[in-house]
Symmetry: C2
């Protein structure tokens, strides 16, 4: 395709509302253009990347027997009321009345729509399993859309939904999708991790996220340096690797801990204050935090954990089976249950449930608040001086923690962009929507479901958030809008343009698509734009080289330059592209 | 593809809300399924037809240099206010407030969005012409959605927008699209007509509709029996072919018309009443109708036309440059200007403008109301007894009228389904949205525009509204979901299934896609479903035939049956398909 025959333009400056680099690059290269906050038009070049990625997804899913359908974007209220999500989804679900006064919403996800689609036809065990997918435009009414396509309002998703006879079969469908997603993201040749995640509002008990690694990612992940273990920090098990160095009297072997004693800590309220004043006690400092479930008249409970640890509200939510993360108790509530304001609170003598993080259990004695203003207690021994209601993993994992899968591995924190998600749903939707089938012996049984998403528009930008340098984008081969970028330097030389055109034609016969920059612009402008657009291979055809019988090949990723005889351009281009693809 | 591996089901009965045959067939074969009124899910087979048609459109447009983009479905109010269409589009434009209280609408068309997309980048004469298209989901809040995909709320359109330097260039772009549409609909091999149409609310002065001929069509068309002339009945010129047979005294040559005289016509109010009582006067009966522009304090005017003719409000609107069709004057208003109630009104002595249809001018004398209750006048002569403000074509064309393009042609009335539309827009949007460019000599000039639509989802159903029989659909090759339907009659015979699979594979290598009905069902059920689904060629593989070494080929369209030796199935299938394609 010729530059002059498509709609391509580049901007020197990114607009001020472009938050992250990939968004800036997308806008500067005209891949997308904002129509409204979080709402974008795809230009011809952006659309090519999108369509290539859609093609990969379609191929991998059809190969695995998935059935493509296309569901509507506008859904009636009645449907979403069947599952209770009309209200449960909150304000992110965009609702409106039509001219007849009936309520509808813009589909943000399609569990309801697909279940309605199949519930009358999937009637017998013979009709199962079935696994459907669609590639379709969705809308989520983001309060603050940002990061371009990565947190937009209108976005393109591939969503899939499996319907199975029973749980074992549903887990098989889950595994098929897990493998399909691996195959899809492997083909992009980008760095990604599959992480265990919190199921969030969609629910379900088995779920994995596919996270593309990038510094600007919204998700905090813990990944292992030796195994493929990766988890969302929110649900990552916390396992110590460095036992606390104890002071001499504990090292003797005999646990002779004297009775706990009070000591004055005026104005020392935070762990940091205590550490600074009592550096010796640092490893023994323990904090007591107060929470309650997020509902009226909920009971206050305490969580006790080491000073340097961070409480993990998602773990608390999951352990206690709350529907939401617990919320902090107010200062007044803390006073009511401890008799003292936060800063001097401790677990001794409390009349409420006490949940002890397992990081504390290794400590022979601990330092805690005395429930008396300006005082703490030391030589406090768990079991002797206070009892825990339960002991568990209530803290955030952190860098240096042990890999739960491989004891020799260590975790480190990275940032990720969620590009795919697989969920085992069980019967939570099919039950409510009465999607049932008759077994071989004519018993009515609820269908088991799974749902699976890939953020299609999000992924193409996320890839660039990972793959770029100071000059612009560096597209992976699989979804690069074009594979070859031909810069014709002297466009008034008809012979050069002819050569470019015949090169394009030959490359196309090998499945290699080409953009020809046929603008009457300076070489510097063309090279800058080629770097910005970031297609894998740039071929420069100039008058000087032409007279010498050579072209210049530049690999975008490493800016490797070689001179190639004109007669060998095609075979060399194929060779270089194969090299890049490795 | 195997029946058992996709999601295919057929219904004996169409749902009661399916209004027309094509919709009933689509629903019965599971091609679409209603989610809400006017909102449908495409099943896997329906989606295949859709995608094939999209592929044809894409091919023909890209071949002609159009640039594909993808615009959003959600548009901000501010954009539509620039052209005044936020209010002008009326309630069909679905509007909503987002969670931040900002107004948006669901795009029903994209003139505003595309003009915004290009107005900052198309700055110089060097950037023009450009012609963009997208294939995208739109929404129109139909008051009473009906006819399935043909008048749905959510629908898929191909819309295109051209941007040009000046009118001659814009008309060239128009011609390119006109030719592209011809190529697209020619490939479907269906009966369609290109008609001159009224520009309606989109505006513009040059416009053609592509109308697929079908009895259930919503549009009344006049088509010629000899030329390619076709027009929407609303704008079709009305040209008489049969001059009125006059009575003897007029035939003498000398126009001796006595002075007009009153005659009593008690209780004869309608033309039909008069015809019945005075059959001799029938060809001379003329009616006088009263209208006014649809706005406050508009003047009443009269339209005079032959008794058997029908007034054409669209022609009146266009002649007078009204924004809407004129409305009928009330009985009170008629009394005010004529002194008498409708039924006895005539053009004589009126103080208002009188517009005379040119069908009247051929009559030597006419019969009109006397503006006196229960009386009419005969021997009334135009020019002598009353004067017309203007004479023109104000009537509806009718069957038997003369082809305006070819005097030997006769028009007949048919029904059409509008599947495509091309508009020359001029500067009406670019002016309001300030889309301008700099000419070679640095003058600022408004960009010329055109817009072009194809109802993608509508067309695939419209095609079936034309192509079906009592047993089901008859797909044209170009968009048939599958080309071959293999019925395996004895699915427990492994050899038969194997044969079907290898046949599918061989056919695919020729680009022929196949559905294998591998259900354990009676032959009658399978044949019925094959007829309903309507793919061009059915191949039946049964045990009996297999033992004899033959298969049965049935052409869907004419139910032609032949026996084909198993070894010749592939070449014969290709041959038969080529025959059907002719």
């Amino acid at each position: 395709m010729k530059w002059s025959q498509t709609h391509l333009y580049t901007l020197k400056e990114a607009p001020s509302d472009a938050d992250i680099l990939s968004q800036q690059l997308f806008v500067r290269a005209g891949l997308i253009k904002k129509l409204a906050p979080g709402i974008f038009t795809f230009g011809p070049v952006g659309l090519r990347a999108l369509r290539k990625f859609e093609g990969i997804i379609r191929e991998e899913l059809e190969k695995r027997g998935l059935i493509e359908v296309l569901m509507p974007m506008v859904h009636p209220k009645e449907l979403w009321e069947e599952t209770g999500r009309w209200t449960k989804m909150g304000e992110g679900l965009l609702k409106f009345k039509n001219r007849n006064g009936q309520w509808f919403c813009l589909g943000a996800t399609h569990e309801e729509a697909i279940t309605d689609y199949v519930r009358y036809e999937l009637q017998s065990y013979r009709d199962l399993p079935k696994n459907f997918f669609q590639i379709q435009t969705k809308y989520r009414d983001e309060l603050r859309p940002r990061f371009g396509l990565m947190r937009g309002r209108e976005f393109i998703m591939k969503d899939a939904y499996s319907f199975d006879l029973d749980k074992p079969s549903a887990l098989k469908s889950y595994q098929i999708m897990y493998d399909a997603y691996k195959a899809i993201f492997d083909r992009l040749k980008v760095e990604y991790r599959i992480v265990e995640a919190d199921a969030g509002s969609i629910g379900g008990s088995l779920t994995h996220e596919f996270q593309l690694i990038a510094d600007a990612g919204e998700d905090a992940l813990m990944v292992s340096d030796v195994s493929d273990f990766a988890a969302n920090r929110e649900v990552c098990p916390a396992i110590d690797t460095n036992p606390v160095k104890l002071t001499s009297n504990q090292e003797s072997g005999a646990p002779v801990i004297p009775f706990f004693e009070e000591f004055a800590t005026p104005n020392l309220k935070s762990i940091l204050d205590l550490e600074t004043s009592y550096p010796d006690l640092k490893p023994l400092l323990v904090k007591t935090l107060f929470f309650k479930e997020d509902k009226p008249e909920a009971k206050i409970f305490a969580v006790v954990l080491r000073g340097q640890d961070e409480v993990n509200p998602i773990k608390l939510k999951n352990v206690f089976g709350f529907s939401q993360e617990p919320i902090w108790a107010t200062d007044q509530e803390v006073v009511r249950v401890t008799g003292v304001e936060p800063g001097s609170c401790g677990p001794l003598g409390l009349n409420i449930d006490i949940y002890l993080d397992n990081g504390v259990t290794g400590l022979p004695s601990v330092v805690v608040g005395a429930n008396k203003k300006g005082y703490h207690l030391k030589n406090v021994v768990l079991g002797r001086d206070f009892k825990a209601t339960a002991i568990g993993d209530y803290r955030m994992a952190k860098s240096g923690d042990q890999d739960p899968k491989n004891p020799s591995g260590r975790l480190s924190a990275v940032r990720g962009i969620e590009v795919g998600h697989v969920f085992y749903l069980g019967t939570q939707y099919s039950e409510k929507m009465n999607a049932r089938y008759l077994t071989k012996d004519q018993k009515s049984q609820t269908i088991e479901m799974g749902c699976y998403g890939i953020g299609v528009s999000r992924t193409i930008q996320a890839v660039i958030e990972q793959c770029h340098d100071k000059d612009g984008m560096i597209w992976p081969m699989a979804i690069s809008p074009f594979l070859v970028h031909i810069c014709v330097l002297d466009v008034k030389e008809k012979a050069l343009l002819n050569l470019a055109e015949s090169l394009e034609k030959s490359l196309l016969s090998f499945g290699v698509d080409t953009l020809i920059d046929d603008r009457d612009e300076r070489p510097g402008v063309k090279f800058k734009d080629a770097d910005l657009l970031g297609f894998p291979l740039r071929i420069t055809l100039g008058k000087k080289g032409f007279d010498k019988g050579v072209a210049e090949f530049v690999t975008r990723k490493n800016q490797n330059k070689i001179e190639v005889p004109l007669a060998q351009m095609i075979e060399k281009a194929i060779e270089v592209l194969k090299e890049i693809e490795k």
